[in-house]
Symmetry: C2
Subunit: 134 residues, 2 copies
Amino acid sequence: MIGKLNHVALAVPDLAAAAALYRDTLGASVSEPLDQPAHGVTVVFVTLPNTKIELVHPLGDSSPLAGFLAKNPAGGIHHICYEVEDILAARDRLKASGARVLGDGEPKIGAHGKPVLFLHPKDFLGTLVELEQA
Amino acid sequence: MIGKLNHVALAVPDLAAAAALYRDTLGASVSEPLDQPAHGVTVVFVTLPNTKIELVHPLGDSSPLAGFLAKNPAGGIHHICYEVEDILAARDRLKASGARVLGDGEPKIGAHGKPVLFLHPKDFLGTLVELEQA
């Protein structure tokens, strides 16, 4: 069911410093910061030959990243995102297996303009998993 | 400098259950477990179209995963691995930038038979980063 790894998201306390680290020290191609008010984050995309790393930083007062960075002030790996062909079929299959979908269970439009869902870390080996329709 | 994302490693408390989750619930292709005594882990490889997920579990009494699983008993994302063309050149460039290489700083042979190094999480946004020579 799952296809490509779309991205790995790293929560970072200082977006400019994180972008500089990936650009200058690791020698990768990084984007300008992009605010995503609907998701409460600002994102810098790091383009690798086979996938993306997303450097994410809280935006606004109710960012879903605030709690994570309070617990991990230096930053850390926040989630991984797998592509699926049909997000509603994937959701229904996962729910039937007993897995929990976060929020109201309906896909939202994600950072790439495509429907996304988040799955409960307790049902996926302690890892926050995002699904994105390919 | 960094090339492809070679893999994301998820530390898991129950390798058989984790492999079943990725195979049956997420519908991915998973390998048989492979013991890697030199690294203190047993690994199940999850093959995605563009990269790999590695489900890793402690092997032996001095596994580097023991502390991580003590802190994260349900499991969690342990590290990410980037490919580099020349691991010694990459190491020297990173050391010159002030980044710390774990252990004695000399590459070891990793899970895929290629030289690997680990970089200090404090120098990489709270993320444990492995480099593997492509």
